[in-house]
Assembly symmetry: C2
Homo-oligomer: 193 residues x 2
Amino acid sequence: MPSTPYQQLKQYLVNNISVDDEQLAAFCKKFRHKTTKRNEVLLQAGDVCPYIYFVNSGCLRIYMLDVNGKESTRFLVTEGRFGTAFPSFNLQEPSLAAIQSIEPSDVLYISHYDFNQLLDTFPGWEHLYRIGLEKDYIASIKRIESLITMDARQRYQLLMETNPALIQKLPSKIIADYLGVSQETLSRLKSKK
Amino acid sequence: MPSTPYQQLKQYLVNNISVDDEQLAAFCKKFRHKTTKRNEVLLQAGDVCPYIYFVNSGCLRIYMLDVNGKESTRFLVTEGRFGTAFPSFNLQEPSLAAIQSIEPSDVLYISHYDFNQLLDTFPGWEHLYRIGLEKDYIASIKRIESLITMDARQRYQLLMETNPALIQKLPSKIIADYLGVSQETLSRLKSKK
DNA sequence: GCCGCTTATTGACATTTGTCAATAATTTAC
DNA sequence: GTAAATTATTGACAAATGTCAATAAGCGGC
């Protein structure tokens, strides 16, 4: 167990950029710490998203809710990763998506203002952010490809291959709307071999 | 008509970062110029993508071809924008997607090596790239949302609202696989009101 | 540990979308 | 300008997926 809630973030930083202890401390100082309950909502749709989160443990879900109450999961943010309602956080405009913690989670968060200040102050921070953006962008491209080229069964199989832990960990209701299929269809895919 | 093929790129740069003429010249020197024919293939699937392109005029299409010969358009890159087979260019691994110029086009291109050299040499370049990544990432998030929450008709209507020029300009066959629907389905959407 | 709520499964059916095929309309290449 | 190739449209049907409903199973909160 890490002695402070900042251990994992520091590890993430040293893995991705060259940074000395002093800078690490300066970065961490901008982050606040929070534990959440199961299904706690961190951002309501319609609000401007003020924070970007780093997940120490647990799982955040970025999701949309349509007028009929149907939910769609845009992204899942697991341990050791950054996540936010990106378009809202980046542009500081009202969010289409909400953020909830699916399970009790332990997170750090930094405000948009402080985040930008780090960008302007430390070139290393911009580099780190850029690397993260590249990875997330590539992940989103792969997701688009799976959505336009594969049927429901193929997408489910792909997820089983690339991220079986997610399927284990999350209720299949959420896996279903992450894949863009109904709960019933996913249930049938799983049973009918 | 611009006097050199670099006019538009320069305009793009000054719009996005503060940069002096000397730097502009240094940036442009890294780009080569090329005109393409209709349907010319710039990258074959399976090859590592060596370049990122800036489109002066015309249109590039990043697309995938499955074993049955079905094509899916991952992205369309129009005038005044950067584009490449991003995962391959970024990771320098074989590309799932191919690149073609749908129509006769006028493009600039820079190698992965030179691009990274600019990143390392000019903080302004990393900033510019980061801003571009943010925009492209947001666009891809919106595309994912449209794919998981909307049916074919809604996606088509969205495209008509957000980018009617694309629908005008491109054959509906390509619009169809960009939307992730068959040509016939799109044709029916258009006729049946 | 139990109650109650949420989630998962299954069936019947409706709807959407895809596939195949034939034909018409366009467009390209020469 | 014309022939050939590509693209678009339409019909008939098949396949995939969604919706609604009923029931079963699982799990969280106390």
